[in-house]
């Protein structure tokens, strides 16, 4: 399993969201690196906890931005976040403690990150560009 390169399709158009996404992206890479270099399960579990906590933080941060922007579909988006946490829960709890299933877990993270960013978070970027006042809300 190889680490990933950031690519421009993942960019949402919001500087703050993209900055957080990149941190998240790096965390997944950190996990992949740890798996391939054979780190022990305790360490892997701590990395997964780090990703989980960062995801929770990022979701709140992203939802706050949506509130500030007055995005209309915030409730639906929030539910998607919760669903992702739920999926996280299911995958985490059905994990066998071997290399392959950790790799599967990392792959799952990559997949939902890409699909959620491209399909959902880009809507925030689009909304941002529609709003003239957007620059005052985002700090660079």
């Amino acid at each position: 399993m190889k680490t990933l390169e950031w690519y421009s399709t993942l960019e949402t158009g919001s500087t703050n969201v993209d900055a957080e996404h990149k941190i998240f992206f790096n965390l997944i890479n950190k996990l992949i690196h740890a798996i391939t270099s054979g780190r022990d399960n305790d360490y892997l579990a701590r990395l997964i906890l780090e990703i989980q906590k960062y995801a929770e933080f990022h979701f709140i941060s992203e939802e706050n931005l949506m509130i500030d922007l007055g995005c209309p579909d915030i409730d639906a988006h929030r539910k998607l976040h919760l669903r992702l946490l739920e999926k996280f829960n299911i995958t985490l709890n059905s994990l066998e403690l071997d290399k392959e299933s950790y790799e599967n877990f990392a792959q799952f993270l990559i997949d939902w990150f890409q699909s959620h960013t491209i399909n959902e978070d880009k809507k925030i970027g689009a909304f941002l560009q529609e709003e003239d006042s957007s620059t005052t809300l985002e700090c660079s």
């Binding site: 989980q52 929770e56 539910k79 919760l82 669903r83 946490l85 739920e86 999926k87 996280f88 829960n89 299911i90 985490l92 709890n93 059905s94």
Partner: protein, 551 residues
């Protein structure tokens, strides 16, 4: 006990997503019975009405109005309101967690969760539930017991008060004697009831200790039969006892407690038998086998009563239980007797069980071992006339007193009673109404024996006894605790003597006896005073005194 129960506990997993059901069901299916349902009030209520559910796991994305309404309706219905609900949700929002608890859920676990933590939180909820159920059951049983007990206490009290009034109003001696006998019998019944309650609480608190001594098994059995003969005769039941001749009757053990066990079993048999017979029998345990142990007794109490259904047979040895509550009205009683019997048997490391079927009577079996009597000089038999003692007035009042006795008791009626009983035994009695008065009398006069109440105003029995012992040793301070002065001349009067002091107390709890002995008292009598026991103690003290003089 816990692990056996937990296998039978059922958890209902209510879920809005199939994946979640799988994870929880897989993780819990080895420990609990798992049933599943969708988030829907009707479905959940139907499941709960079809089978007992001990806990509900409500696994949802977010506690929305539907799931909160489900919780509300479960909590509103009495059939399901006690079932603990644990919500598992991905929402970390304060509002969601608070509104979940406000509809009565027991716990809220956030996703992603660790299954090990979920398992522990389920376990702790189920433990709470078990503890709560046990407490509710105990409270219900105690409530019933209290109601029952109130009835049991009122019944003899009613007879005592009513019959006593009749006796006072009646001018005829025969009538008075008749009423008096009923008062006596009712009062003794009441005392038996109080003793049962006391014994039961002592056993429950692990405070009951056996008092081993030499005794004659035949006499114990006879005494049980004698004391219940009247009751059996009144009901028209034949009461008999059989002792196998090969048994060795010189035993060592706690004969009073053995007597209590046998008494309870025989009394119980008489109570539940309306016609026929009750037989108490003792055989060697393992009779027939070559090495039948002659000191191991197999007692049976056989009746021709109504019998006990199989499902009630185990319960009958637990406290406060009779076969059913309507029976307890029919037969009366506290339901403590057999429970006390069982616990005493356990204390004696014996076995008790019963054979019965409805309609064909009951046989209680009891196996107890009593090693042979140990011959020691100290175990001299006490005044061997406990069953022929009578409190009938003695005519030989002109006889010289057997000794002088100081009775210290503050309650007027108890003083009169004790004084009368002691005078009948033959002592010249001087009375004092408290410890201080007693010391004043002792400064002028000497006695063979002092009987002293423990709880008294001014100077209680324990302090008075301590002071008397100090004076006898010539080492008393001049002031009594509380400021009073020792009566003049008391040290001179008592120095070098030793007067036996018997404590008289209504406290029958463990520790009282020790406190009395520690205060320098020699023996201990509990109220109500039994004439037999009073005479026994006085005789023993006389014998000791005689021995002391002889050696």
């Amino acid at each position: 006990m816990m692990s056996r129960d937990s296998l039978q506990e059922t958890i209902l997993v209510v879920c809005d997503a199939l994946d979640n059901v799988d994870i929880l069901s897989q993780a819990l299916k080895n420990t609990y019975e798992i049933v599943q349902a969708a988030v829907n009030s009707e479905t959940v209520e139907r499941v709960c009405s079809k089978q007992p559910v001990n806990l509900i796991l409500l696994d949802i994305l977010v506690p929305d109005e539907d799931s909160l309404q489900l919780c509300r309706s479960l909590k509103e219905r009495s059939q399901t309101s006690w079932i603990p609900i644990i919500i598992l949700s991905a929402s970390h929002r304060e509002k969601d967690i608070v509104s979940s608890f406000s509809v009565g859920v027991a716990d809220y676990i956030r996703k992603p969760y660790k299954l090990s933590i979920v398992k522990e939180r389920i376990k702790s909820q189920l433990e709470l539930l078990r503890a709560r159920n046990a407490a509710e059951l105990a409270s219900k049983i105690k409530g019933e017991f209290l109601a029952n007990m109130s009835h049991e206490i009122r019944t003899p009290l009613n007879a005592i008060i009513g019959m006593n009034r009749l006796a006072l109003e009646s001018g005829k001696r025969e009538e008075q004697a008749y009423y008096g006998r009923i008062v006596q019998e009712s009062a003794e019944g009441l005392l038996g009831l109080l003793n049962d309650i006391l014994d039961f609480s002592k056993i429950e608190a692990g405070q009951l200790e056996l008092d081993n001594h030499n005794f004659d098994m035949g006499r114990v059995m006879e005494a049980v039969i004698n004391s219940l003969e009247l009751k059996a005769r009144e009901k028209g039941i034949a009461l008999s006892h059989i002792v196998a001749p090969e048994l060795k009757l010189d035993c060592r053990g706690d004969s009073l407690r053995l007597r209590q066990i046998l008494f309870n079993l025989v009394q119980n048999a008489i109570k539940f038998t309306s016609e026929g017979s009750v037989t108490l029998k003792a055989e060697p345990h393992g009779a027939g086998s070559a090495q039948g142990d002659k000191s191991s007794f197999h007692f049976t109490v056989t009746d021709t009563g109504r019998g006990i259904p199989l499902d009630k047979q185990k319960k009958i040895f637990t406290a406060f239980s009779q076969v059913d509550t309507s029976n307890s009205r029919l037969f009366g009683g506290t339901g403590l007797g057999l429970s006390i019997a069982r616990q005493l048997v356990e204390l004696m490391e014996g076995e008790i069980w019963l054979d019965s079927s409805p309609g064909s009577g009951t046989v209680f079996h009891l196996i107890l071992s009593f090693p042979g009597a140990v011959k020691t000089g100290a175990d001299k038999p006490l005044a061997a006339k406990d069953d022929k003692f009578s409190i009938a007035p003695q005519s030989e009042e002109s006889k010289a007193p057997v000794g002088s006795l100081l009775l210290v008791e503050d309650d007027k009626f108890n003083r009169i009673l004790a004084q009368t009983l002691i005078q009948r035994i033959g002592y010249a009695v001087t009375v004092a109404e408290n410890g201080l008065r007693a010391l004043e009398i002792l400064s002028r006069q000497r006695f063979d024996i002092i009987i002293m109440d423990v709880q008294m105003p001014e100077l209680d029995g324990l302090n008075a006894s301590r002071l008397i012992r100090q004076c006898e040793q010539g080492s008393a301070a001049e002031n009594i605790e509380g400021g009073a002065l020792l009566p003049e001349g008391i040290t001179e009067s008592l120095k070098g003597t030793h007067t036996p002091i018997i404590a008289l107390t209504a406290h029958a709890m463990k520790g009282d006896r020790e406190a009395c002995l520690a205060a320098g008292m020699n023996d201990y009598l509990t109220k109500p005073i039994l004439p037999e026991r009073l005479e026994e103690i006085l005789t023993k003290l006389q014998m000791e005194k005689a021995e002391g003089q002889a050696t």
